[in-house]
């Protein structure tokens, strides 16, 4: 492991200042991904800024009736937060579908958004990978790609974003609050992560000198009809082959609003509001669900080992919507 220097930041302003002053600095919070990547020499920060002591751990209601998750609230504290469980059970379920109890106790909400892909080649420094080493080539496209993306890929990278939490946040239209040298700004979750394009080494639109301070959930939580369905190669502790965050707002047997986000299929949570809108004011039938599923997977491209994900994702969308529809509405 390469040596690095370390400093504990006292407040957000100091943290931003410190990271702005040093291009080779990285924030560290739970460290559940960064430390692993440092050990295998995939990430090589020369300086770590420990932000675990910043006052960003609270979960509280916002003025507009939503909920603000502090960036440093742990995944466990978030998933089991009473408000989250009651008003945003989709998020709670998504978080609990990921990692393990031990990891969720350490991992923070902000860090969860910034975790790196789990592509085999990204993790092996003896293989070419454009995300790890721009210009070296993508080994996955013609190599082993079972876990990798089928949507929004590029000739440079077919990595997926591994987060479950982010998929639920996409369906819920969360907003990411960040602070940089020029002050605060808000990034809608849909614009937070990027597609790989020709710059796959850049995962998100967060600038290197910015820090996530909170994740805002809008008032609408779809607590009556939701499902987080995660399909994977074993029943726990595996990343999604395909996951679906599905949420419905019903008026009798008519859909008022549908939200669908897919995980495990792209470089970011995959959400198509235009396709969702096809379900608005429609009956909640399997045919309509299949129609929207087809729309979601339009243009999907397999790379051999992951071809199956296209059909699997369609079926998962249908099943997730059915489950969301049929769930017992808690009064």
């Amino acid at each position: 492991m390469r040596s690095f220097t370390y400093n504990k930041a006292d407040d957000v302003a100091a943290a931003v200042q410190e990271v702005s002053a040093n291009q080779e600095a990285k924030f560290i919070a739970g460290g559940t991904n960064l430390l692993d990547l440092m050990k295998i020499d995939v990430m090589k920060p020369r300086h770590l800024i420990d932000i675990t002591h910043l006052a960003l751990k609270t979960i509280e209601e916002t003025e507009d009736g939503g909920l603000r998750l502090g960036a440093l609230a742990t995944n466990a504290d978030t998933a089991y937060n009473e408000q989250v469980e009651k008003r945003y059970p989709l998020l709670s379920h998504a978080i609990l579908a990921g990692a393990t109890g031990q990891l969720r106790n350490m991992a923070t909400d902000g860090g969860n958004l910034l975790q790196r892909t789990r592509c085999y080649y990204f993790y092996d420094t003896d293989t070419p990978c454009n995300k790890r080493e721009p210009g070296s080539g993508c080994s996955a496209i013609k190599g082993y790609n079972r876990d990798l993306a089928i949507l929004g890929t590029s000739e440079y990278c077919i990595a997926t974003h591994p987060s479950d939490m982010a998929v639920a946040l996409a369906a819920l239209e969360a907003k990411i609050r960040v602070t940089g040298p020029d002050g605060d700004r808000v990034i809608p979750i849909a614009e937070f992560h990027r597609l790989p394009g020709d710059t796959p080494h850049i995962d998100s639109n967060l600038q290197p000198n910015e820090i996530i301070t909170a994740i805002d959930l809008p008032a609408k939580g779809f607590a009556n009809h939701y499902t987080y369905m995660k399909l994977r190669d074993r029943a726990s502790y595996a990343f999604a082959l395909v996951s679906v965050a599905a949420a419905l707002e019903m008026d009798g047997d008519t859909i008022k609003e549908a939200r669908i986000a897919l995980g495990g299929v792209a470089h970011k949570p995959w959400r198509l509001p235009a396709a969702e809108a096809m379900l608005s004011d429609q009956k909640a039938t399997k045919e309509n669900f299949r129609m929207v599923a087809e729309a979601y997977l339009e243009g999907a491209k397999g790379y051999g080992h992951n071809d199956f994900k296209i059909e699997l994702a369609k079926r998962a969308v249908v099943r997730a919507l059915q489950q969301a529809l049929e769930m017992e509405v808690k009064s």
Binding site: M1, G143, Y144, R234, A235, F239, R315, R319
Partner: protein, 739 residues
Amino acid sequence: MIGNQTGKPVNRVDGRLKVTGGAKYAAEFTAPNMAYGFVVNSKIAKGKIKSIDTSKALALDGVLEVFTHENRPGYVWGDKNYQDKDSPPGSPFRPLYDNEVQFSMQPIALVVAETYELARYGAILVEVEYENYSFDTDFEKNIKQAYIPEKYKSSKPPEPWGNPDEALANAAVKIEAEYSHPSEHHNPIEMHASLAIWEEGGKLTVYDKIQGVQNSQQYIANAFGMQQEDVHVISPFVGGAFGSGLRPQYQLFLAVLAARELKRPVKVVLTRQQMFSFGHRPKTVQKFALGADTDGKLKAVQHDAFGETSKFEDYSENVVIWPGVLYNCDNVKVSHKLVALDVYTPLDMRAPGGTTGIYGLECAIDELAYKAGVDPLEFRKMNYSEKDQNEGKPFSSKELRECYRQGAEKFGWEKRSLEPRSMKEGHNLIGWGFAQGAWEATQKQAAAKAVLTTDGKLTVSCATADIGTGTYTVMSQIAAETVGLPLEDVTFKLGDSSLPKSPLQGGSWTVSSVGSAVKLVCDKVREKLLQLAQQVANSPLANATLDDVNIEDGKISLKNDPAKAVTIKEALVQSQGKSIEENVSSEPVEGQQKYSPYAHSATFVEVKVDEDLGTVKVTRVVSAIAGGRIINPKTARSQILGGVVWGIGAAMEEETVMDNNLGRFMNHDLDKYHVPVNADVHDIEVIFVEEKDDHVNPLGAKGLGEIGIVSVAPAIANAIFHATGKRVRELPITLDKLL
């Protein structure tokens, strides 16, 4: 021998040490002034190292040395010096021998530094230039070049009997099928590690992760031109091995090399990723052609296996012996060819050949039973083998029918309908599958020593290993029972090369071999005890023979008058302060060669398969085992549970995936290489049927380390067929194969 110690579900005698951290594993030992080595592995699969620049690593303050093929000392390098007790025929891999790269992730340098992190950092800084050669890692592409090895590591496939071609041609019901089993890595939780301590005078003490300390001892002595007695290998605990510790691994060689050169202790621990850089279960393709008559009587078996090996050693395992062991058939023809690839040599992994061969055979038989329209369990009963047809010998015992009966009853098999897709529950198709299995119950030569001190404490020892199987416990039980002492007065020592000679811990032969030696040496202690008891003044046992007495609960008493007794402590007073000390070497029992010794299993499985999504849940497993006398039902059950869980993994999750562009296994960590987690494991019922065996060994016990896994994956695959009507002939059965 129905004893007062064996047969009891006693807790592991080392359990407390393990759960309190008191049990030390190889990587946990330290020594004063110890340095750390970190291995640099090859990036390419085949070629030459054109240059290796270690200057940047060496420039780091605290890096002591970087060993490569360029500066390694000149030792003896003959093949023979690198062969160990589990080597296949061929030329063993010799770390840092020359600039040739034979497989991806080959160790090519060792960075030694004052701290582990520094060594790991130094390893990053080693710069290597390669000359790439083309390589063969694609099994399917190379299967055309499969060959019959000059010499099999395993037993030579049996010669054909009957007229298999003709019988097959004439069979009323026929199937042909090809089954594929992927490469798998052992993935014990404990990583391979060695600490080599160089001592003045050139002696070595080595802490090693190994399934046989004397194998490491011999290997080091041969490779470094040392006297065996100058090498002391210690390995008191092993955190799982499953065969990966049968052969000394390269970290041992490198640690010893560095310790000798630097004249200080050196520890080398492999990373999880590096655990994928050596032996593995070979990818194996099996072709079957089976024939039966319309009633379901097996008429012909043709079983051809193609197993992966390396380009430098001919690894083979017993893949094709199973038709002759498990079925009664008059016309059988089998073959086993090797497919040599540019990979490290495969290595025995839990039930090598059995896991693979029985998977293929039991699925193919299920296909044939279906084609004949016969219930799969009925089919097995109709074609039950009363003798081992490969060897032409009767079994030493075989209560497999009782496994069928008890297993079927517990599982509720009689309620099964033959028709696939006949049970449904919501989105789930339900399937019930069956498979049977066998595994050798061999006895090897083993030695043991017993020391009974005057305070009545018994220490028995043998250089075997406890790889988590419960060796410490069952040996203590056998010794305590034989000498008539409470379990807490008995200590069993293992994992030290200076102890009496032991075979490798593997092959399910430890209880049989070491247990028999322990029994034998303790029998000698009994004799001595009786002699001493007879010297007690007015001894009531004065005229008794060993047959006349019971020795239990710390007393030697007359069988026909138990009140007449001498306590062991009283007897020991007669030894005038001297311990009783006995040594034995135990050989396989006389007449054993007349029989074929196997343990047997019958596995019943229920799966639920989501019809739309392809997800499979193994909801119930009943595993009925005929394993001879069970010394400890608790540790025995754990062995079978472990086998079943691994069977679930093998059926649905495990596969090391080769990237043929890079010639490299790519899912080399526990994130990408899936083994079952708790959530994958549901109801498992283990049944041990009563099985008396007077031939297998003096204990009447068969090993249980491997019989638990062999029939699980095929039973799951057969259950998935019953659920879905779809025959997936390639493991693992991941959800995409069922969409």
